[in-house]
Symmetry: C2
Subunit: 231 residues, 2 copies
DNA sequence: GATATAATTTAGCCATGACTAAAAACTACG
DNA sequence: CGTAGTTTTTAGTCATGGCTAAATTATATC
């Protein structure tokens, strides 16, 4: 299991370590405080287990932990998290483009593969895809040295009606949700026309590839779009 | 970690379980008795650890274990071993053909990936490669229902001099050895002309792509060839 | 067939990373 | 500002799968 972590890391990290760091990273980017309960709920283990692991990560200088406080990644911890995220998103795109795995299935596959991806394989995959910037859901792929771009786009639910947009990101990894969107033709980079946004968080009427569909408001909130005219 | 094991298997298997079963399978195919020491040496753990695991595998009806006797796979155990071997060899070929990973590096990569390959991914890979029969070293790929073919071919070291042969299999996974062979142009299916086999296990003089090379006898013994004229 | 040597197994230890249950510490409200 | 309720931590358990050291069993030789 060849790893690429910042050379500062002494002990090798298990998949568990990596999963926790990735989870903390993702929760951090949501802007919320990474409380113990948020973390434990996200990773699907008990709060006691989360505390336990967080303390270990703190000993390795991957997170900053003060009892009863929100956890935070250290720079090194963030590097590790971003490397795993890079693995994950490169794998998602690779599986999608090279093996035609549908976008609603790539997440769970990548979830397991990301921990056993060598440096060499990561590079080969990135090269074979032409050093891509986003995965099949529009999530940005961190660069090899831990930089990550901000994807532009606003929620469809907050966009002006009567205009055309391009779908640039879907903020969900849920299989059923993605499968549903896919069936409507709502793939990445597809053009959608926003007919109407019903008030009081009512359904959103969109047209995709000539067909009209009504989307639940919270579904539309997950669809990040840019005006279709833009570039 | 979606698994494909014969439905008879109750508890899920860890990578360790799978590694042991694969090791036992490989040792069995070598014809030798799978003693505890042979097994422990092959997998690189202590004999005590091997005994321990073999007893667990016996409880799961994956191997037959009688103290102080050679271990043997049960039909179910063989199915599991063959499935992992299928994963391994499909992955080797996939990495080699799709990502241009050299044949001397694919083994160690596949070694980690084979345990986290889902059924769906296995199928997708097999399909994308056109349901191949052998991996980049000429090792046969077990079929989905656990059949495995016998590769024809005889050791180059035992072949008649003055004739042309085609390399159909290399019986080694050692990185350096494979890298060396690759440098000489000795890849799978390449044509070689056997000039001379020096007596008393002396070097073997071969011609590959116009160049002549002297191979150590034990190296030549690992090269399985068929007469070049054959089909 | 006794005994030396080699192989195998047993017994017991350790780290990992999950868990439950109970204790402790925060928060918020009356 | 004290107490109820929630969150977090602690303490201790368990299974896993390595390990070492010691006991046992097989084997092989005289």
């Amino acid at each position: 299991m060849t790893k690429n972590y910042a050379s500062e890391i002494s002990s090798p990290l298990s998949s568990s370590h990596e999963d926790y760091l990735k989870a903390i990273y993702i929760l951090e980017t949501r802007g919320e405080q990474v409380t113990n309960s948020a973390l434990s709920e996200y990773i699907g283990f008990t709060p006691a287990s989360a505390t336990n692991m967080v303390k270990k990560l703190a000993q390795m200088d991957l997170v900053i932990y003060r009892p009863h406080q929100a956890v935070a990644l250290t720079p090194t911890g963030r590097r590790v998290a971003l490397e795993i995220l890079r693995h994950h998103r490169l794998l998602e795109l690779f599986l999608h483009k090279t093996l035609d795995i549908p976008w609603d299935k790539v997440h769970e596959e990548a979830e397991r593969l990301e921990h056993v991806l060598s440096e060499a394989l990561e590079d080969a995959i990135a090269a074979s895809l032409g050093y891509p910037k986003v995965d099949p859901h529009g999530d940005p792929i961190p660069s090899k040295n831990g930089e990550i771009s901000h994807t532009p786009g606003l929620p469809l639910s907050q966009s002006e009606a009567g205009r055309a947009y391009r779908l640039v990101r879907v903020l969900s990894q849920e299989r059923e949700r993605l499968a549903y969107l896919g069936k409507l033709g709502l793939h990445l980079n597809v053009e959608v026309f926003l007919h109407e946004q019903a008030p009081f968080d009512g359904p959103v009427l969109v047209e995709v590839a000539g067909e009209e569909h009504a989307l639940a408001a919270d579904m539309a909130a997950l669809l990040q779009v840019v005006p279709a005219s833009a570039e």
